[in-house]
């Protein structure tokens, strides 16, 4: 095979690999094994007089489309699929915590600069709040376009990141927000109605201390969980 045809085959195989990576139940080792199969098949077909493109189309047809493969592989890779989902869900929550801290620190620094420029505190506060909203909306847009498959920005920069990662990551953040805020609103409403003002504020102070102690611990637990899942996701036992 000449250099030109080798490059042409590499391009075709790369575009197939991109599609295969979008399939949730295929592990990196499965894709590698199927890739070798495709290449073997193309090698053998190209000796029958077909050109590289034609050989690749026939090889692809013989190996089956990625949706079909996904269904079959899902039967044996069920455990791995859930490890990967939970990994990105936990990862999503860790990223959310880090993003909140980073954005808050960035906006604080921004407000400090704005204040030093002599703007009124009201204007500085409005600018700071607008910046916060703009950053969060930007992140949301990036996540939505990754989940819908229209943006490859995150997929090409983070290993093993697919549109499914974005979907599970966003789902976990949404779930955490909905559950946490619903329970917080309900409990605060009930306590505010049933407790006196002093008792309520005393409780709020104790809760704040507890939260300050618990948050780093929760962060550590999540990082450890993600680290243990990472081994299963990135280095499957069959390697």
């Amino acid at each position: 095979m000449g250099t030109k045809t080798v490059c042409q085959l590499d391009d075709l195989v790369d575009s197939w690999k991109q599609r295969a990576r979008e399939c949730e139940s295929l592990r990196s080792n499965d894709i590698l094994e199927l890739e070798q199969h495709l290449r073997d098949s193309v090698d053998s077909l190209s000796t029958t007089g077909l050109d590289i493109q034609e050989s690749f189309i026939v090889a692809l047809h013989r190996i089956g489309n990625t949706d079909q493969l996904g269904i079959e592989f899902n039967k044996t890779n069920g455990g791995f699929v859930w490890s990967r989902r939970i990994f990105w869900m936990v990862g999503g929550y860790i990223l959310l915590m880090l993003a909140r801290l980073t954005i808050d620190a960035f906006v604080d620094a921004f407000q400090l600069v704005v204040n030093s420029l002599g703007l009124t505190p009201k204007l500085a506060a409005i600018l700071g709040a607008s910046l916060t909203v703009a950053i969060w909306l930007g992140l949301l847009r990036l996540m939505c376009s990754t989940a819908s498959g229209s943006s490859a920005y995150l997929r090409t920069r983070i290993p093993d990141f697919s549109r499914w990662s974005a979907i599970w990551l966003s789902a976990s953040i949404l779930l955490v927000y909905v559950v946490a805020y619903a329970s917080k609103l309900t409990s605060h409403f009930v306590m505010f109605r049933s407790l006196g003002t002093n008792d309520f504020s005393q409780m709020a102070i104790i809760n704040a201390y507890f939260e300050a102690a618990w948050s780093p611990l929760l962060f550590l637990i999540l990082v450890l969980t993600a680290a243990s899942l990472k081994r299963r996701v990135f280095h499957p036992s069959t390697a």
Binding site: E33, Q36, H37, G64, Q68, F73
Partner: protein, 112 residues
């Protein structure tokens, strides 16, 4: 052409029987099945791998990644001791079906 159901049912004994002759990889297994069956057994090639992985999980075959002569990284499979035992049982069962059909249809049809 052999029906999908029969192709699926025969995939395990076929894989085990081919691997009993020695270590091999997916593409080569499919080529051998195609040749031996005179193109009558046709697998959707990608579907072979989930079956191989299931056999591997059951401990019937063992897999190792190796570099092939062409420098490509390939996953080779070989039969384990449990796999050999399973193949022996499969053989008995398939021969029982074969013999029964042979008695019903006459020897010639079964041989062909």
């Amino acid at each position: 052409m052999i029906s999908k159901e029969l192709v699926a049912a025969s995939s395990r004994p076929l894989i085990l029987a081919i691997l009993s002759k020695g270590e091999d990889y997916g593409y080569s297994i499919i080529q051998q099945v195609r040749e031996l069956s005179d193109n009558k057994i046709e697998w959707t090639e990608g579907m072979l791998y989930p079956v191989l992985h299931r056999l591997e999980k059951e401990g019937l075959i063992v897999a190792t990644w190796k570099e092939s002569d062409s420098g490509r990284k390939r996953k080779y499979y070989r039969l384990s001791a449990t796999g050999g035992e399973s193949l022996r049982r499969e053989r008995e069962q398939w021969f029982a079906v074969h013999t029964t059909l042979g008695k019903l249809w006459g020897r010639r049809l079964c041989v062909n």
